[in-house]
């Protein structure tokens, strides 16, 4: 009964709706934020993926793009912002600094080595800074991940 036609189509419908309206939170830290703005601007438009409405408050956002170097002083704020977001929330770690500390990993006493130490990350976008197309490709990879999520099939059927 687990993958019956009813639940699967309902899941697909829900996933389709959620993946095409990911609202990112304006969370620019460093150089990658400029590329994120360039992605939001006219030439490489993120709006075409339903992802262009940059929300200022974490309450109304369901995608956090960590764009830039996360320092130890900022890490607690990143954690607080992540916890304030509403539940179906996703994190894209953009740029080498957010992935694993990037160029600042060797003598960076104040740099957090990768944002996945404080926040669960869904997609890592490499680059320093990544091209706007690379960020769009990262968003598309995240959409693939959302596309086959099992929302109803796990919750309704207890002893799956």
């Amino acid at each position: 009964m687990q993958d019956g036609v009813v639940l699967t189509t309902l899941d697909e419908f829900l996933n389709w709706g959620r993946k095409n309206s990911l609202w990112p939170m304006t969370f620019g830290l460093a150089c990658c934020a400029i590329e994120m703005m360039a992605t939001g601007a006219a030439k490489y438009d993120l709006e075409r993926f339903g992802c262009g409405a940059f929300m200022a408050t974490p309450r109304r956002a369901d995608l956090m793009i960590v764009a830039g170097t996360v320092t130890l002083k900022m890490a607690t704020r990143v954690k607080v912002l992540y916890e304030q977001m509403a539940e179906p929330k996703y994190v894209i770690s953009m740029g080498s600094c957010a992935n694993k500390g990037g160029p600042y990993w060797q003598y960076g006493y104040h740099v957090l080595k990768g944002v996945d130490e404080v926040v669960p990350v869904d997609v890592y976008v490499p680059g320093c800074p990544p091209r706007p197309e690379a960020l769009i490709e990262g968003v598309m990879t995240l959409q693939k991940k959302i596309a086959n999520e099992r929302l109803l099939r796990n919750k309704w059927v207890k002893h799956a």
Binding site: I34, A38, A41, K43, T71, K73, M74, C97, G108, R131
Partner: protein, 391 residues
């Protein structure tokens, strides 16, 4: 008229007597590290008295990436990618200043074509950086379409830089002794085409935003910083010029080949509002774009073929000594204080004097007595970049 910015005691709350008994204390507000108007991770602790800012304390360090500690363990060529990441909106100017500091110490002779191409790239970078400042300042005050125009023309410059150096934002293009690769004549012709379009575009921006009544109402007479104030705080660049002082390192202490070009230094004269307010700082930046176009055209006339890399030893060993080199960046005067030991392969100490660092220290002086919305306009108008403040 009550003095607007005596730093000592905070602004006395102007509550009329009837509500005197209401015992309303100052409210602490965090214009926190994540805020649309702070251009990055700057936290400003504002003590407000019902929408009027009593005093503001900036907290920085949220993007302190230990760059100066890195520079003590990197050889001289390896430092350039880290110097790019200081002011990531004007990477070319950062690299150029660092390269000139080392060249002054090494005494290398940079070929004329390389010097001319450096001026060309850095003036293009100044236009791109001012376009960015124009776009984000409009967003701070709520106008979204100028952001799209500014980024449309900024993409044209980034495309040119990508063809020459390979990267869009952090180039590692200006090396010690010259340049990495050369500009082909076709690219140069595209630069002239860009300059002609940019001239009309600057006029269009003037109509679109500068003369807009709402924009003038939001920025004229707001966040006034007098010339004496700027000199006390060590403010430089568009802020000092916006206050009315004609000071530009490219004119007053000409480095490289700037003495050969004639361009004038735009100054905030107060045709709208008064000198030193947000509008004049903004208009100084927009006029600097036109001046940079003039310089680029003169450089292209003077270009002649030649080598682009001077004679630099393969393994760079610098003699003992100390150099403090200043250059004019889009945000103000950047300077590198380099200290080296005898025959050292890496800098013993590299201190970066960041213009935005001193501009942030002016905020507590300007904030008292302003409305919060005006304070947002003031922070936007001094155009700070956090990578350079926190290093």
């Amino acid at each position: 008229m009550q003095t607007r910015w005596d730093v000592g005691e905070p602004h006395k709350p102007t509550i009329n007597t009837r509500t005197e008994q209401l015992k309303s204390d100052l409210l602490t507000l965090n214009m926190g590290p994540q805020h649309p108007a702070t251009h990055g991770v700057l936290r400003i602790e504002i003590w407000t008295d019902s929408e009027i800012v009593a005093h503001a304390i900036p907290h920085i360090g949220y993007l302190h990436r230990c760059m100066e500690k890195h520079c003590e363990n990197l050889d001289f060529r390896g430092v350039i990618p880290f110097v790019d990441r200081l002011d990531y909106l004007a990477s070319m100017n950062m690299e150029w200043n660092y390269a000139m500091t080392i060249e002054k110490m090494l005494g290398t002779e940079v070929p004329r074509r390389a010097e001319l191409l450096r001026i060309l790239t850095c003036e293009l970078q100044r236009i791109a950086s001012h376009l960015m400042a124009f776009g984000t300042y409009a967003i701070d005050l709520g106008a979204f379409s100028p952001f799209l125009y500014a980024f449309d023309y900024r993409e044209k410059i980034l495309r040119l830089f990508e063809e020459v150096s390979g990267a869009r934002l952090l180039y590692n293009y200006i090396w010690i002794g010259g340049l990495w690769n050369d500009w082909s004549p076709e690219q140069i012709s595209r630069v002239t085409a860009f300059c002609d379009d940019m001239e009309e575009e600057a006029k269009k921006y003037h109509e679109l935003l500068s003369m807009n009544k709402i924009f003038i109402a939001r920025t004229a007479h707001v966040g006034v910083m007098s010339v004496q104030d700027c000199i006390d705080f060590g403010a430089t660049g568009p802020i000092l010029r916006g206050a009315g002082m004609k000071w530009d390192l490219r004119k007053n202490e000409p480095y490289s080949l700037y003495s050969e070009f004639d361009f004038d230094v735009p100054v905030g004269t107060g045709e709208v509002g008064e000198p030193g307010d947000c509008w004049n700082r903004y208009i100084v930046r927009m006029r600097e774009v036109v001046e940079s176009i003039k310089i680029i055209r003169q450089v292209i006339e003077k270009l002649e073929p030649g080598s682009i890399m001077g004679k630099v030893p393969k393994v760079m060993k610098l003699p003992e000594g100390e150099v403090y080199f200043r250059s004019e960046c889009p945000r103000g005067e950047l300077a590198f204080h380099l200290v080296t030991k005898q025959d050292s392969k890496e800098p013993f100490r590299l201190k970066v004097r960041s213009p935005c660092f001193t501009h942030t220290s002016m905020l507590p002086r300007v904030a008292p007595g302003q409305m919060i919305a005006d304070f947002v306009a003031t922070v936007g108008s001094i155009d700070i970049v956090l990578g350079e403040i926190d290093r």
